[in-house]
């Protein structure tokens, strides 16, 4: 185990993971929030109820979400090539991650919004608020604490997805653990990566819990 050799590689891998995870959290989180709101709002009986749109969105989420990510990567290939210009590399891999994260987070968002008391939405309607204003001032603020916890959950899922980045040549901590640890029969390297990941997850979970508690205020 040569740490003089490995340390720069580890830093590079950590940087790649950070890149993939943060971009996915940003784009997937935003699109997932939008898609989740769409699911919630178009659900029959809700603000913008639309049977057809809801059915389409619901079906899309139900189809995408259960596909194992490694298969999804391959299946998404043609679309990835059309958008990114290549099916390999960190951009191609991050694109697939954003796609999957959007659908995963959409369901989480929808489930959290469903738990909001319909009475407060009705009250806002009675005061003349538009649907967009209700989303902004009622739905998101009222569900903020569970949304933060859902986003924290998404982070762990995204970190998990990023581990197979090596499969498309995207690098990252998972790739480092396999190439420098597993394939070199160097269990210590693998163990170090595991510890790093566990520490990151714990830290983020702690942060998420804290923010959610502050958002609750009740």
């Amino acid at each position: 185990m040569n740490w003089d050799y490995l340390t720069p590689l580890l830093w590079e891998a950590a940087g790649q993971t950070a890149y993939m995870v943060l971009i996915t959290l940003l784009i997937g989180g935003f699109l997932g929030l939008a898609l989740g709101l769409g699911l919630y709002l178009t659900r029959p009986g809700n603000l913008l109820q639309h049977r057809f749109v809801f059915a389409v969105l619901n079906l899309a989420v139900n189809i995408v979400r259960p596909i194992p990510f490694i298969i999804f990567l391959v299946a998404l290939g043609p679309l990835t090539r059309a958008v990114i210009g290549s099916t390999i590399g960190i951009e191609a891999f991050t694109f697939a991650m954003c796609f999957m994260a959007t659908f995963v987070f959409a369901r989480l968002v929808e489930q959290n919004l469903v738990s909001i008391d319909p009475g407060v939405v009705e009250a806002a309607r009675a005061m003349g608020a538009s649907p967009f204003r209700i989303v902004r001032t009622v739905l998101v603020p009222e569900a903020l604490a569970p949304l933060i916890l859902g986003y924290t959950f998404l982070f762990v899922g995204v970190l998990d997805m990023s581990a197979i980045g090596g499969y498309l040549g995207a690098g990252g901590l998972g790739d480092f653990a396999i190439v420098q640890g597993y394939r070199q029969y160097d269990w210590a390297v693998t163990a170090v990566v595991v510890v790093i990941i566990v520490v990151i997850v714990q830290a983020v979970q702690w942060l998420g819990n804290g923010l959610a508690r502050r958002a609750l205020r009740r």
């Binding site: 009705e122 003349g128 009740r218």
Partner: protein, 398 residues
Amino acid sequence: MPAATSGIIRFEGATKVFPGRGKGAEVRAVDEVTLDIREGEIFGVIGQSGAGKSTLVRLINALERTTGGDVVVDGVSLGSLSEARLRPVRAGIGMVFQQFNLLASRTVSGNIAYPLEVAGWPRAKREARVAELLDFVGLADKAGVYPSTLSGGQKQRVGIARALATNPRILLADEATSALDPETTRDVLDLLQRVNRELGITVVVITHEMDVVRSICHRVAVMERGRVVEVGEAYQVFSSPRHDTTRRFVATALRDRPSPEVLARLRTRHTGHIVTVGVDEVAGSSAVLTRTLREHGVDGTVVFGGITEVAERPYGSLTVELVGDGGSVEAAVAALRAVTWVDDHGTAADPRKVRGVGQQDAPDADPAGPPDPGAPGEGLPGNGPFGGQTWLTGGIDL
């Protein structure tokens, strides 16, 4: 009493049909209701749960749209307006809910400011208005706290302040006191009454509690299965109910009439002539009763009864044991009949169960209206203003 002006809210054959779920039948929640609610009054809509009253009130601010007929609010026909055009109409109508429906993520001030933000008030004006409203509902010290720390009554006062924020001309209260204990209910009803008196706001109160109607409503509509079965001045409707549903509500408000079981017990203790005498605005109070008995040399002992207020007027009955010589009791009863209704139960030795009920009549003509075909106790003679038949069959405990 509010001046009788033209209706600020007019239901014109308003109908709301909800499509059935799956193969279920459609639900006619509101069925061709025609009704005028006058400016400046407190109007009550009373009915059992599922009678359609919550849907009816939601037609006023178009939270539910009519599927037939129309609702006209302040001269604006709601049936023809688009969702976007309805928003300003809604903003001009305050609404208070049974479960308060406050935003848990906002403080008391933030909740009251919400409709002002929607209406686009600048911050300084908003803050001044919120302070004014907090003062009006007596929660000035709670401005910065979150609703979860408030009691039910305080939450409802925040709800009322919020509903009043944009100076609406109409306030809708949907079971506003049903989640509150009796004492808090009183406070909230007082507040609604102040809203009506001091601010001149038309208040529409939806309730299943007779007490709410009794204590604050000027006029009332009784709903059953989507239809308004009775409407009029609260006092008139409840002192001479024509519909069975109304009678049941009256019975819940005041258990002043002895049931057959109670009557049987009274007879074992009181061997004299027992009569139930109505106390209302005409009869004034028990003073009339006392004077009449004295004039005829009859001794009266109150053995059962109760007097309360409906729409701030006395209402109830007293059951009295009469003891006197010869025909003096009969003469006294006849004299009382001239001013109020009397229900003659006879004596223990000579009970007049059925005849007594039949004779229970208000002095004014036709208080009972046509008999209800489906009324319980059908076949029993007598269909007096308080549905003597209803309590004869034990209906008072409905």
